[in-house]
């Protein structure tokens, strides 16, 4: 009946000694890296000359002394732990629901202190500019009057919420919780691929991954001076509290669509870690523009809602009337200032893939600074010149529908057949405003345990930015991994997994 693999410390995270400076492993030669391929993309662990990068040296010396069976055992222990914690999503087939864990990889991805401080500065700059932009377009609209970007792009966006116009938002912080996706390009610099400004998820996996990686390599972890991330829930709580003047007494709730949502684990996790109520729409009642939760003792006033429900579903009286997840009357209570909602409504207009292309210009416009983090080069198909370029180079580009996420509605030119490209070109010509295109970006590769050894897999990086009275970024991130060899798609809905991210203190 003994199932708790972690109970045996010899098995897991036991004698984990960091060897002294020994010979460094060579990819493609030494086990466990015999099948490790270095290609055109930047590799996180090895230089182009196939030498282990300095931050990975300690991990390398540990890995080269661990038998493969031991790595497998640790990998299984970590999967067991996820399963027992209920970090799963459900797949339905044959009328049976099967629970699968979100795949996780044992090996940490390492980021140096220097790299982090640039990321931190760049992400802070970016969130400040994006919030200024949101405040602007929901108020005077200076950026439109000055012609920095076309009016139609804003007023025509399905994520622009007229209902938000003129509504004061505490600290001007429309986006309180942001998860930005970055990649490392061939020259090794981080560039921003996407901003997630609506209801970004994944932070619970960041914390869960830390738990398993720390247990898998305790001595390496200790020796390397990895910066802690466990205070994220506390920072989130402080951010939410900063939205109301009576901070300590604020009654806060996390609003979830419910147990069938794929991120439910995260909603419950965050509520538990913050020590606040987890509510569903049906738990809330609005009366006289005040929001209450139904409790056994009666109705209890709610002051701040961290909502994990999309705008469209949050209030059937204002938005989608068929929404059973939302709370009738919530938006009016919000307008009346009796409840704060994080993120504010209408933030989706700013993480549109078309707006993305303008973010560097927005940073210059609002802050009069050069962007610290660059974007991936992006062609807006709405501009005739760009459209012609895209059509002529479909075999080299990745084309994405503006309103989609999760890897849907896109064409990866170099991997598509001629027929697929031709079909896509027709769609493009029919509705150019709906598409952007980017060069095929090579995501960097990182060492990933694949059962038979350690191989290179593509990764991205999603740090989480909090923004209330001020901006805070916990030094860590979710590193998503495309687990299939050669794949560039890291989304969990399409075969992606994740791994821990170690930000070093020096």
């Amino acid at each position: 009946m003994q199932h708790e693999v972690f109970a045996n410390t010899e098995d897991f995270g036991g004698p984990d000694i960091v060897a002294g400076p020994g010979r460094l492993s060579r990819p493609g030669v030494d086990p466990p890296y015999a099948s490790y391929e270095l290609g055109k993309p930047y590799d996180e662990m090895f230089t182009r000359e196939a030498v282990v990068r300095a931050p990975y040296a300690a991990l390398d010396s540990r890995l080269s002394t661990l038998p493969l069976e031991e790595l497998n055992r640790r990998q299984q222990a970590c999967e067991q732990s996820f399963l027992h914690q209920g970090i799963t999503f459900t797949v339905y087939s044959d009328n049976r629901a099967t629970e699968r864990i979100i795949p996780t990889d044992l090996l940490p991805r390492i980021i140096t202190a220097q790299e982090w401080s640039r990321l931190e500065a760049g992400l802070t700059q970016r969130i400040i500019a994006l919030n200024l932009f949101l405040r602007d377009i929901y108020n005077e609209g200076r950026v439109l009057k000055d012609g920095v970007l076309p009016r139609a792009m804003i007023y025509g966006s399905k994520h622009y919420r007229r209902e938000m116009r003129g509504l004061p938002v505490p600290h001007g912080a429309y986006v309180n919780i942001c998860g930005s996706d970055l990649i490392r390009n061939e020259s090794g610099s981080f560039v921003v691929l996407e901003d997630n400004l609506r209801v970004p998820s994944g932070v619970s996996y960041m914390l869960a991954n830390r738990d398993v990686a720390r247990r898998a390599f305790p001595a390496v972890f200790r020796a390397m001076g990895v910066r802690p991330i466990e205070h994220y829930p506390l920072e989130l709580l402080a951010t939410l509290r900063s939205l109301v003047p009576f901070q300590e007494e604020a009654s806060i709730a996390v609003l979830t669509p419910g147990v069938f949502n794929s991120a439910y684990f995260e909603h419950a996790f965050l509520a538990r870690q913050m020590g606040v109520e987890l509510v569903e729409g049906r738990d809330l009642v609005v009366n006289d523009n005040m929001v209450y939760a139904r409790t056994t003792s009666g109705l209890k006033r709610i002051d701040v809602i961290y909502r994990r429900i999309d705008d469209d579903f949050i209030d059937p009286l204002i938005f989608r009337e068929d929404s059973a997840l939302g709370v009738p009357g919530l938006f009016n209570a919000y307008r009346a200032g009796n409840v704060m909602i994080a993120n504010a409504l209408g933030t989706g207009v700013a993480d549109d893939k078309a707006i993305y292309a303008y973010v560097p210009r927005l940073i210059r416009y609002y802050l009069a600074e050069e962007p610290i983090l660059e974007n991936v080069e992006t062609f807006l198909c709405r501009e005739e010149k760009s459209l012609q370029h895209v059509l002529a180079n479909l075999d080299k580009l990745v084309v994405k529908a503006v309103g989609e996420s999760g890897g849907y509605g896109m064409l990866v030119g170099p991997h598509a057949t001629k027929k697929e490209r031709e079909a896509f070109a027709e769609k493009l010509k029919a509705d150019p405003e709906n598409y952007i295109a980017q060069p095929t970006i090579q995501l960097s590769t990182a060492p990933t345990f694949v059962g038979t050894g350690i191989e290179a897999r593509h990764v991205d990086l999603r740090p989480f930015i909090l923004n209330g009275a001020d901006t805070k970024i916990v030094p860590g991130a979710l590193t998503r991994v495309a687990l299939r060899r050669g794949s560039l798609v890291v989304n969990s809905s399409q075969g992606g997994g994740s791994k821990d991210t170690w930000v070093l203190s020096q």
Binding site: M1, H3, E4, L83, H84, Q85, G86, G258, V259, Y264, F265, A268, F269, A271, R272, E277, L278, V279, E280, R282, D283, V285, N287, Y292, A293, R294, T295, T296, S297, G298, L299
Partner: protein, 314 residues
Amino acid sequence: MLSRVADSLYWMSRYAERAEHTARLLAVKLESMVEQTPDDAAASWARVIEALTGEKTAPSHLDAFVITRRLAFDRDNDSAMIASLALARDNARQVREALSNEVWENLNRLYLRLAPVTMDSIWVHTPARLFREALEEMHALSGVIYSTLSHGEGWYFLELGRHIERVQLVGRLLDLHFSAAQAGENGPKYFDWLVLLKFCSAWEPYTKEYTASIRPQKIAEFLLFDSEFPHSICFSVDRVTEALARVAPGAPPARRAAVERLAGRLKAAVDFGQVDELMSGGVAGFIADITRQCEQIHKALYSSYITYGAETVL
């Protein structure tokens, strides 16, 4: 506490109690059937099925393999052990934030361990063993609930679920055995009374109280009125009464009174019940009354604290 959370905790606990009860009945039954004649074993199986599903079964349809599969692993049977456990877990998942990690992981692990079990895999060796092991883990779960959760409102909703369910489960067993004894033919024999005690984890505690001499009246007295034994009706009623005094502390007095009045009446019925008066055929009626009162308490609990209309309190 959110009404929805109270609701889920209550049902999580009821279903966990049901799963534990089913596991115990199957373990005891599978262990003891080898010592019975085929007829006695069949009569006893029929009582087990009726106790767990409420259905009467003809003796010709009794096959231990088929019955065990249906009562333990048939997911289309709502009262099967695995179905109860799945429901307990579903409810727990909805209130993860109200439970400790330990409680969730114990319940989740237990479910994940039992979900893939097949009859063929347990039938080749000692089928009872699986249910014994499941019971051990369920006892561990109870211990974890007791020692890792604050004994506040949520914990008392768990208590309510557990003991309201237990009153009904133990009540139904007593009813079936005493009704069969009353009817006379093919009624419970010495061995069946012994098994009844084991169905309720009561064999050892009973002998400490009354020695090993097995007498139906003493069994009734013990399982109905012993205030110290955790599977007696009296014990559960005391827990229910105590829990009702502790939940929904801020509810308006009128709502509280509606529930507490019922609790007081139930407690009085059990406190002043006399086993001598019941033995001349009154056990079934008494149990029916207690069960009915528990159902009323369940309804009052819901209408006062959980499903009340929000407009009534604004």
